[in-house]
Amino acid sequence: MFKNLKQSLILTVFTIMLFGLIYPLFIFAVAQLMPDRSIGSPVTVNGKTIGFENIGQSFTDEKYFMGRPSAVGYNAASAGGSNKGPSNPDYLAEVQARIDTFIFHNPDVRKEDIPSEMVTASGSGLDPHISPQGACIQISRIAKKRNLNTDQLKELIRNNTEEPLLGLFGMKRVNVLKLNIALDKLK
């Protein structure tokens, strides 16, 4: 028994060094070769970091395209989903409230044109994307707020739509942060 204990102890020390230190440090060394040194793909505007490419952020201002609802209010220090079940009456009331809010902000939109991702919370609470449909239904609001014409905005969404890989893997989607940065540049 004692022999086992000593053998196990030494083996443990070496495996901790190997898999807890050397392996991560090796990956860290590889990470230094990546374009942004793997610090999370920051996005800068006018020299200031205003976000990370894949981390969604909250857009409540009507002059911006809005993203999906988030169970954690896009808190990137404590991410999470709602974990509400599909039959939960409180949850269904919340979805109804989100629909009403959306219609309030976008009075020209018919309910059946709202895609479900615009009224449901994502798993991470930080989903950076919406579907192109989710962006298109916000065009008329943004056009009014910014005095832009709708064709310009349609064009903007088309340019910012990411296609599925090889037309097969993934969904058509729009990164809301990138879309809004491009929107700010429109004159």
Binding site: K3, N4, L5, Q7, I10, L11, T12, F14, I16, F19, G20, L21, Y23, P24, I27, F28, A31, M34, R37, S38, I39, G40, V45, K48, T49, I50, G51, N54, Q57, S58, Y64, A79, G81, S82, N83, K84, G85, P86, S87, Y91, V95, K111, E112, P115, S116, E117, V119, T120, S122, G123, S124, L126, D127, P128, L168, F169, G170, R173, I181, D184
Partner: protein, 569 residues
């Protein structure tokens, strides 16, 4: 829509095909034959020399299990120590507090047993030191333990006589260095290329485009995510696991992650074929697993893509399907595939919040863990299957009136008794645990406010508790995460469930292999049961399904099945 289904078929076929050569390679590692990674040998031998371990000294099943339990106990103490002191140690840029004792116990057990059920949230509950020196380390060696014990099992089955099954220490270390480490490096680099961070910098404060101040948590994510996917661990760096955009930035990383979940469990079956030189038997087992897996995944994909009927009633179009708890970049089909892959393999990582799945998906995810026989965890997956194989052989032996035999060895009362104890332990933990939890809930006055366990009422609330114990017993680690589980009851209760769910199904089958190994070998004759026939495959599948249905149907009827009928279709 159809491209989504096509894409997941391609992903699934790709994983099964890549698993085939990997199985041959694993079999060579187990047998100590030459491999292209032999340059690790000097390092391994150096470690063995200092530890005074003779890697070539073979041990019987008892000595091997003693070694396994001893080293696991040391790992547990190490994890407890670091988690309880993480506030005082280095690599803690975000000043994270120490874990309280029941949570530290739960977390230590969880990572040691390859479960990785998390009652903390990574970005607020664990320092970078804990993430690497405890979690990343344990995700390797706990997976290595699973792979090593299946190697002991293979040896026992291939022995014509004698009681030696191999050397646990040797197999454990080599499983880590030769199988897990190279794959983890490949996956980690794929993740880095796709944007997963690997930095020791703490959270960054930024001012967003519309002017809010936000802290963005990050850290040494890539290496940990790689091993959690490959070792059927599932313990994520961040709370939302692989739904978090840093852990799983795009669809390419998603494909790589899904393949990583199932590649080693599938490869283990082909490794069995190569090791015992019984490819046909391996193919029968694999077919049973693929049929079972498809039976779970197809309904789940169908219902996720169809969306939530209650939201349909609100006149909202669901072109993408059910999107609560899901990410737009993955969509419902590949989220459903992940949900079933992760529960069938005892992985437990998630790319969508399972608690918000449609009822049929929830049912299939729970069944994946409760049957625990389709793919399963690295190594231990096949060990679970082995228990069912023994039972299936026993039952078919009874049906045709012959002495049950497996690979030329007689299966007798002792082996069958052990197999039954192991097979019944799993439902006992799940049903017993859920019964206790439900009882406490029902007798506590004003339980909702007082206990704060359930995030959802009615059937779904029951499912949250049922799921938690299923996940613990199957050493899975996913959760219906709405459950308020960081309480002494859940920390200790599921801690015990994980320990039983890990060690009973390992020690029992290894003992059976030890007994079989010593028995007299009689070559198969025309009178033996043909285990590499399609009929045996059907019997095996029936044993799994009938046992599972009988044991778990009542519980499932109270949870997801009732919820399904309560939704208006």
């Amino acid at each position: 829509m159809n491209t989504e289904i096509l894409s997941i078929i391609i992903i699934f076929i790709a994983s099964v095909i890549t698993a085939y050569p990997l199985g041959r390679y694993i079999s060579r590692v187990f047998k100590g034959e030459k491999t292209f990674l032999d340059f690790f040998a000097p390092l391994e031998n150096f470690i063995f020399r200092i530890a005074k371990i003779n890697p070539d000294k073979e041990m019987d099943w008892k000595e091997n299990m003693k070694a396994m339990l001893t080293i696991n106990f040391i790992w547990f103490l190490w994890a407890m120590l670091i988690l309880s002191l993480q506030n005082l140690l280095f690599w803690n840029p975000d000043n994270i507090a120490a874990m309280e004792p029941t949570q530290a116990f739960h977390t230590a057990v969880s990572f040691m047993t390859n479960t990785n059920l998390q009652h903390y949230s990574g970005e607020t509950g664990a320092s970078y030191l804990s993430q690497l020196l405890v979690f990343c380390f344990l995700q390797f060696v706990s997976a290595g333990t699973g792979i090593a014990v299946v190697a002991l099992l293979f040896k026992g089955l291939s022995n014509k006589s004698g009681s030696n099954l191999g050397n646990f220490y040797n197999l454990m270390l080599k499983s880590c260095t030769r199988i897990l480490l190279p794959l983890a490096i490949v996956l980690a680099v794929i993740l880095l290329i796709n944007g997963t961070p690997m930095t020791f910098k703490g959270a960054e404060q930024i001012i967003t485009l519309q002017g809010d101040t936000v802290n963005v948590a990050r850290g040494p994510v890539a290496p940990m995510v790689a091993i959690k996917q490959l070792g059927t661990n599932g313990g994520g760096f961040f709370g939302p696991n692989s739904a978090h955009p840093f852990e799983n930035p795009n669809f390419i990383s998603n494909i790589a992650d899904i393949i990583s979940i199932i590649i080693i469990p599938v490869a283990m079956v082909s490794a069995l074929g190569f090791y015992l030189n019984r490819m046909k038997f391996a193919k029968i087992i694999l077919s049973v697993m693929v049929v079972g897996f498809s039976g779970l995944v197809i309904p789940s994909i169908y219902y996720e893509m169809n969306g939530n009927p209650e939201i349909e009633k609100m006149d909202i179009s669901q072109p993408l399907g059910s999107m609560e708890g899901k990410e737009v970049r993955f969509g419902p089909a590949s989220s459903a595939l992940w949900g079933i892959a992760t529960t069938c393999t005892s992985n437990g990582s998630v790319n969508s919040m399972l608690d918000s799945s449609t009822p049929v998906s929830g049912l299939m995810q729970m069944l994946g863990m409760q049957l625990n026989a389709f793919f399963g965890g690295v190594g231990v997956g096949f060990i679970n299957k082995f228990t069912f194989i023994i039972l299936a052989i026993f039952i078919s032996g009874l049906m045709v009136g012959r002495t049950p035999e497996f690979l030329g060895k007689k299966i007798e009362a002792k082996e069958v008794k052990l197999a039954i104890i192991v097979a019944l332990m799993h439902p006992l933990i799940i049903l017993g645990g859920t019964a206790i939890a439900s009882h406490i809930w029902s007798v506590t006055p004003n339980a909702g406010e007082f206990l704060k366990w359930l995030n959802n009422p009615s059937h779904h609330g029951f499912s949250e508790m049922f799921y938690e114990f299923s996940s613990s017993a199957a050493n899975n680690g996913s959760g219906f995460e709405g459950l308020g589980d960081n309480t002494p009851f859940w920390n200790i209760g599921t801690g015990i469930a994980m320990l039983l769910g890990r060690f009973v199904p390992v020690i029992g089958p290894i003992a059976i292999a030890g007994f079989l190994s010593q028995k007299k070998y009689t070559p198969e004759s025309s009178g033996s049961l043909k285990i590499d026939s399609g009929i045996f495959g059907v019997v095996l599948l029936s044993v799994v399904v009938i046992l599972g249905a009988l044991l778990f149907f009542p519980g499932l009827a109270l949870g997801p099945i009732s919820e399904f009928f309560s939704l208006t279709h």
